[in-house]
Amino acid sequence: MSGTPVASTQSPDPASAATQEPPQNGLGIDQLVLQYLRSRGHTAAEKALQESVESGSPDDKGKSSESTASPAISSEELIRKLAVFAQKPSRPGENILKETANVLQELAAMGNPSSIQNLIASIGTLGAEDILSLDPTDKTEGFRELEAWVDGSLDMYRPEFRPILFPIFVHFYLDLIQFGFKEAALKFYTVFSPSLSASHSSTLHHLSTLLLPAHVQNDELAQRFRNEKYAVRMSRSGFGLLVGWLTEGVGGEALGAGEGFSGEKGKRGRAAVMRVVNNHLRFDVTPSSSTAVSPYAWEESTGLLSSIIPQTSGSSTIVTSALTFNSSKGELKLGQPPLPEELRTETERVLREQAMVDRDPAAHYDLQFLRPPAVAGVTAPSISDLPPHPPAFKTIDVNREVEKIRDARKRIRLEPSALHGLDANSPQAAAARSRALPSICCYTVHDAPEGVPSCTFSPDTSLMAAGFSESYIRLWSLKGEKLRGMRSDFQSNAVRDATSLKKIRERGGTTTRKLIGHSGPVYSLSFDPLSGSAAPPKYLLSASADATTRLWSLDTMTNVVAYRGHQNPVWDVQWSPMGIYFATASRDRTARLWSTDRTSALRIYAGHLSDVDCVRFHPNSLYLATGSSDWTARLWDVQRGSCVRVFVGHQGIVSTLAFSPDGRYLASAGEDLAINIWDIGSGRRIKKMTGHTASIYSLAFSAESTMLVSGGADWTVRCWDVKGAGGLPAKRDGMVNGFGSESANAKDEESSETTDLMATFPTKRTPIIDVHFTPRNLCLVVGPHLSPEQR
């Protein structure tokens, strides 16, 4: 819907302006010209081009697509395009065209159509040099003007205008590179990138590596910028001002900058900006006033959105915003999964029996936990909605459910809200802290100089497993029990009953065990959840760089199955909350669903534009969340395999995810060092929490879903209040750290901490790679200790 207003103000023919941006842009313009020349023969082309050079009139539309689009700069522009076209076959890095003779010589050698030789010859030595040396300046000037205008605009509009700078910068840079002006491009980059690097450092760095036209053609990011519209959200009045500046050069320019606009240079610069605005930007004009939008809102509505948001097949309209997509996907069933009726009655029976035996008067309250009250506002799924599970239940299921209920009763309640509105120095605050904050037990892994790529705890906290870069997995018993596998020299027909099974167990044994089988670093581990917190798990899954996922039996301590299917390293693996199924995330841009009894994938979830870095199951196993290097997270319907939600807002790779146990929220952490909390039902971001100073590796919710604990490469564990309002502290004497700080002025650099950061617990040189809440709300964290000698 947007974009057209600008187009109409500038181009005499909006229709042709719209058509002049074919989907495979980039090389499109050049090829169009080439085709055109070839189809018409040399003389005609030459004549037409000459004509346009001399007259500079836009009336020869249809002859050259570029000239119709930009009447104001037609002559120089056209020549420049052609010059690039001419240089293309020889691929020079420098402005070799400065010497026309040189070009002609080369062109002749390449056997190019003589029309171009003629054309360049006709421009003459002086002309070509002039044009080419002059040309890059319009971009530099244009960007300078735009930046000055944005910085000079009113405070209320500046946050709105700032996001425009980046796409225009990118396109100018790519233009310069593509036209072969490497030096000019580098200069442009040096001058203007520092002001943008705060929020776009990774993209900027990537751009700076593109130095040749061929790179622009082949690079994925550059092509996305070329072929997709960059969405920018703006208020109506702000948009009006922008249009005014682009067309007239008026409307809130900085003082003293006005001189530039009247001159020819200013006009050309603006025209260059306008060209990018018309071709590559899409304005999302909102009726709301510019002050009503939160400062982070631009993150969600700005960027190359069109490819990030999945398009619904069959519908003709193109969905352009994440919100529209999310609302078009309808309601989700986010409630707790139902318990099969027989299993429930059996669990009730066992609980009653145990209450009788224990003479525990509190035990009969347990039964109420069996039927948890429905959470308002979410639909609970029925059994038929769940992925198929075996119809009969086993003792292990009953034990799990019984233990779950016991855990619910014995849980340490954590109430982050207890800290609200308390003076941090008052004696009450200390007590409130103990109610609000968890106890954290830190497991430190020593003598792992290469780091530990993955580490995880079993649901009953009896085992810890760590995957290493050296391709092996190490298993530890945290209870100090011996881990014993099976002997390999037994006759399978000799095994008849439990006692004979005991005989073939290995003798001796230690409390740790090495599992060998992978041929690449082990990036993720997951214990099977079937026995819950009642008993040690029976299986372990591991994902590795060797593109396999392996299933390990903890009875025999051996590898049972290798699941092959991914073509690339598997970054993450997780069991479904009810066992049997598991999901993997891989560098091949897909996530896959597997069942343990099949060696091929059941579902492939494709749609991310880059690596899928992490995968998590929704607690009711109906949905699957994936986080990706394309800076988004998606929610998939496990059974249908379709994307049902997309979460846009991170400004970096989404590195880890966590579902709240009540099933309503998704927390995601990204390389932008922020943690976002999303409302899954609506797909909206609830808040953004910042405070970490290095990559965040792991997130975990407390059992009540009121607290989030995160651990990362900055050697800290941080506790966040999920329900708190958050936001950056308005005054610096606020409760920055959960403690009122007497030395508030000493923490200038910590001002990025949002107010919902309740506490920070530093460790000694231990990056926290996994954070885990036991069902009773004890927090376990693990990380390798880095010896100080390491860099």
Binding site: L437, W571, S655, P762
Partner: protein, 472 residues
Amino acid sequence: MSKPKARGTSTQLTGIYRADSIRDVAESLGITNLTDSVASALASDVEYRIHQVVEEAARFMRHARRTTLTTSDIDQALRVLNIEPLYGHSAHNPPTFRRALPFPQLPQAGAVYFVEDEEIDFDRMLREEKITLPKPVSWTAHWLAVEGVQPLIPENPPAIPKETDMEPPVAGAKSTDLPRTSSLLPTPGVTSQTSKKQQQQLVKQVLSRELQLYYTRLTSSLLPPIPSEQAKRTAALASLRHDAGLQALLPYLIRWVGEGVVGALKEGAQSDQDGRVLEVLLDATGALLDNNTLFIEPYLHQVLPPILSTLLHSTLPPSHSTHLRTMSSQILSHMLTQHSTTYPSLSPRIMKTLLLALISPGKSKGTREGAIRGLIAVGKEAIRKGLVEGGGAKVVGSECGYEQPGSLVNSVMDAFRVLQQPSDMPVSLDPDNDADEPVVTQLHEVLGDFFAERLVGDGVWARGVLGISMET
């Protein structure tokens, strides 16, 4: 990945990989007629490819949960990009690059780096070097936080001064099935003695010189208590009562009080001097408790023993005994009102100590009196429980016999007065009256004969003490 990028934006712009290097490589391959344009184009391309590999390697670095790029990451990246990896580099011994001496004849060549290739003499190696196996991977566990407070143990980083209010909490009481090993050494089980010592050292480093000076001045002005320096003491106590920022000193002050009390009581505590010392120490404790900028909760278990010792000590200096016991009971009462809500086990603990002192046989009169004063401080319910229901009055009564009323008896009567005000117009209980008869019996049963005699004269009072409502 993000960090090096942020840095990299401004530094390299004209290309890291130089065209000269391309030309050098070309010459080594026998291509001499390489034009400038080709060389620079190739250099740009090489740089782009290197960046491609590095960006890919950064993903592997991130997934390996590291912040340093290693050669193994590059290997993995090359593998997935379908390029043969470079063999011979391992992350265990990263190659060290040496800078070559500059060539005087070719100054424009710039710095040349090369990988040092060490020559290993096998004979010497076999003869001398003992190959030691690297230590296997192991783990230790410790408390990073206990109910939201980070314990100051060697495993945790020393607190930075602004966080000194996170002093060691009462962590030992928490029993869990989780293994607790208390050292960063891979061998678990270093004795708690050493770890305690380390802890003290850690805290000591944090104390600023000013605070140390303040501590010395403060303690020297309080003790020894010279009567003429009353003003100085008052000033010191006021400072303790009102100054913020004493949090870091709190453990030291409390230890100082504790040691002082122990010292004074150990020597029999008969002289007036000891009495004065105890008085000052109690004053200091009270002042610390009064200071509401201090977070004293984690130390309450250390504050309690000196107070209770003073309160329950059998022989206090006669001149000060009543005053000291009253004062310590007041402090106790103050502490309970302030902290019993946030420290739920506080009042049960105190009650237990007091009851033991009151009831168990063989305690001196002083102890008994202190216990009763303590019970008065705790509250009505405590008095009822200790004196009436627990039979404290009976015990005291039987021990006193029919001697002249001393301070012990006075204290019991005080306690009764707290339970129920004696009526203005006492109506004595009549053992022959039907209504009064069970009360009198009960009075004798519960309080013993000694105190029953004293209460029998006031019916309303006696009923109140026994907890019988007025209507009966």
